[in-house]
């Protein structure tokens, strides 16, 4: 029975509506008895599915809105208010129909994200290619993906190359070129090319599954406003029902009593806040910003202080060789090859950067043989080539080796440091033969992000870093931050945040989510950024940016603000409607049909209002274009 009603729900609704129109036409020509007949038919046709739902709810001891409507309509028939009965029935069905269609739109972004999940995988088993369910793929198996195909698991490419759309993971639809040994993620789509990959994470462990899980949880997470409204509705509905009973008993006015029943439906109150959150969170998630729930949206929207980590957050986190200064007759390549040979023993990221630069310049064949190579902690490296002793490292190392630095070289060194470079000396025996400068470049969209955050309400932008003072100062100056603090230990970062919080500032911390985890947890909103996101980051952070672009941060911030505003507006619409209806009924301005109409209109109003949160993406794209133009030069 329930299914039959569901299947034919729309037909019943439209028939009921058509009968009402026919009835009105007859009424216009003065046939009021025929009008009554068509209205009764309209009521009877429309009330079926409503009674069925009311009943099924009663069987599980639940007191539903359908029950209130059923009682109201039966009451209307009883006092021969056929017009009102028919209109209430029709409006209830029609409202539910519109609600379902519009609600589906607000959930669209989340739904489309869920739909990106792959279903099947082509796996190599026993020398044959077999198609299996995605849950049956095991770690270590070889998976084949053809052009247009979805990558079913996380893995490493072992054969082939492809252009891949990773928008399911990062929200970025720019194609990525991936080849041998590159990592690929489940949910990405191969545009052109063909790859075979070795599965590293399958089933629920894949990055995509984790994103889905987070988004699912986030969309069901109730914010405090929602909880308040739900509690209010919980008391509101029974209170109005009791009120209608009292009114009915005291005044013997059945019409007034059943009008109360109709307006007792809490409609917009219950749906207003969740539609806003689901649209906002869904749209953000689709664009690569995971906001973990309605409460976080509220807090995110109120942020006035933004604290950035430097390395990997404002800067690319990939230092590169920017200048090579030579004081003897060697060429750049020769001195680089020599340095790279010496740095082989180093585990330090500066040493790695030099080796990488030498590799990029294809200098491996010019490497020289080094004996007695050693890494000197917090200083640099030393080693012997032929009969000469070489040192590469910071000023401390040079001073300790009693190597004299001429004024000329010292001035150059200071100049480089002041520009934010990390300059390293290269010494041969007792003479300095060159300096290699290394710098971590500022992200191309950092400038635009800072501007955008300020324009949208962030009052104080601060950078906290463990890096050296000059490097920090340079980044801070270029970006125009309000404050920066360098050479900090993790505990000092925490102390800074605590201090800001005691001054009543709403602090957001943005970091890479690995070494910043405690600071992220401490702030009102902890934002972890990084491609693909690490597990720790996804757990501790409140907001996870799925790519390392700062434009995602502003997108999330602006989206939260809009969502928060829509939520407030919806709450206002719902509460005002409730008050208007209540007083309208008491003072006799509102009757059954008009009460139902206003009620349904308020439900639709909050849903349509929430829909405004959906098409924000195009706006942001324009901003991103500007960001590229403004990229600071290094």
């Amino acid at each position: 029975m329930a299914l039959w009603f569901n299947k034919h729900l729309n037909k019943l609704m439209f028939t009921s509506g058509a009968l009402i129109v026919i009835g009105l036409i007859f009424m216009y020509f003065g046939y009021s008895s025929i009008r009554d007949l068509t209205f009764i038919m309209a009521t009877l046709i429309g009330i079926g599915p409503i009674i069925q739902r009311a009943w099924s709810a009663l069987t599980v001891k639940s007191f539903s809105i359908e029950l209130l409507i059923t009682i109201a309509v039966i009451g209307a028939l009883f006092i021969q208010e056929y017009t009102e009965g028919a209109i209430v029935t029709f409006l209830f069905l029609f409202g539910a129909y519109l609600e379902k269609r519009t609600l589906a739109k607000t959930r669209n972004s989340i739904q489309s994200l869920l739909d990106m999940a792959p279903n099947v995988a082509k796996v190599m088993r026993g020398g044959e290619i077999v198609e299996v369910d995605i849950d049956d793929v095991e770690v270590g198996e070889t998976v084949l993906v053809h052009p247009g195909g979805k990558i079913p698991v996380d893995g490493t490419i072992i054969k082939g190359k492809a252009q891949i759309n990773e928008s399911a993971i990062s929200g970025e639809s720019v194609l990525q070129n991936k080849t041998l040994e590159d990592e690929v993620y489940s949910g990405s789509i191969i545009d052109t090319g063909y790859i075979e990959l070795k599965a590293t994470k399958v089933g629920e462990d894949t990055t995509f599954s984790k994103i889905i899980e987070l988004v699912e949880e986030a969309s069901e997470q109730k914010s405090s406003t929602e909880k308040f409204l739900n509690r209010f509705a919980q008391y509101y509905t029974p209170a109005i029902v009791v009120l209608s009973l009292l009114v009915g008993l005291l005044t013997r006015d059945v019409h007034l009593a059943i009008t109360f029943l109709v307006i007792a439906c809490p409609g917009a109150l219950i749906i207003g806040a969740p539609v806003a959150y689901v649209a906002g969170i869904g749209n953000s998630a689709k664009n690569g910003v995971l906001i973990k729930g309605g409460d976080i949206v509220d807090r995110f929207a109120k942020i006035d202080t933004v604290i950035f980590d430097k390395t990997g957050t404002l800067t690319q986190g990939r230092p590169s060789v920017t200048n090579i200064k030579i004081y003897n007759d060697m060429t750049e390549d020769e001195i680089l090859a020599l340095s790279a040979s010496l740095e082989q023993v180093s585990e330090h990221h500066l040493g790695r950067t030099i080796i990488k630069e030498a590799d990029d310049r294809k200098l491996t064949e010019q490497y020289v043989e080094v004996t007695d190579a050693e890494a000197i902690k917090a200083r640099g490296v030393a080693g012997t080539v032929g009969d000469d002793k070489y040192f590469i490292g910071n000023k401390k190392l040079i001073d300790e080796e009693n190597i004299t630095i001429s004024d000329d070289i010292l001035n150059y060194y200071i100049k480089e440091q002041k520009e934010g470079q990390t300059a390293m000396f290269i010494a041969k025996n007792k003479d300095i033969i060159g300096l290699i400068s290394i710098m971590d470049k500022i992200k191309s969209d950092a400038h635009a992000a800072v501007k955008n955050l300020r324009a949208n309400g962030a009052k104080k932008l601060v950078m906290l870093t463990g890096d050296n003072y000059y490097a920090a100062e340079k980044v801070s100056n270029i970006l125009g931050l309000d404050e920066f603090h360098a050479e900090l230990l993790p505990a000092e970062k925490m102390a800074y945040i605590e201090n800001e919080q005691t001054n009543n500032r709403k602090v957001m911390m943005v970091g890479d989510g690995i070494n910043d985890a405690p600071a992220l947890a401490l702030s009102e909103v902890g934002v972890a950024m990084g491609h693909g996101g690490t597990d720790i980051a996804m757990e501790t952070a409140d907001v996870v940016l799925m790519s390392d672009k700062l434009s995602k941060l502003t997108l999330g911030y602006n989206m939260s603000k809009s969502t928060f505003n829509v939520m407030l507006q919806n709450t206002a619409i719902a509460l005002i409607t409730v008050i208007l209806l209540l007083f309208g009924v008491i003072y006799g301005y509102i009757h059954l049909a008009s009460g139902m109409l206003i009620h349904q209109a308020s439900v639709l109003a909050v849903i349509v209002n929430a829909m405004r949160l959906l098409p924000m993406k195009t706006k942001d794209k324009n901003k991103e274009k500007v960001a590229h133009k403004e990229a600071p030069v290094q």
């Binding site: 599980v60 639940s62 609600l103 699912e216 969740p274």
Partner: protein, 72 residues
């Protein structure tokens, strides 16, 4: 065992309670989770109930089920 069901759009939050109570009354069901915004119902249960049983209960309550997936 765990069964995931996708329903047609759930519109009223009162559906949540209806579905939750309706399913948890069945023998062998240990946990019911209705995800309103996702139109998804997740049920943890043992072999006294099947995914199809759960599907028919939800449909009896008036919510058509689009897909059922049971995993052990």
């Amino acid at each position: 065992m765990k069964t995931n069901l996708r329903t047609e759009d759930l519109t009223c939050p009162s559906c949540i309670k209806k579905i939750e109570t309706g399913i948890s009354k069945k023998d062998g069901v240990s946990k019911v989770d209705v995800k309103f915004n996702l139109n998804k119902v997740t049920v943890e249960h043992d072999d006294r109930v099947t995914g199809e049983d759960i599907k028919s209960t939800i449909e009896q309550l008036g919510y058509p089920v689009k897909s059922v997936k049971t995993s052990s």
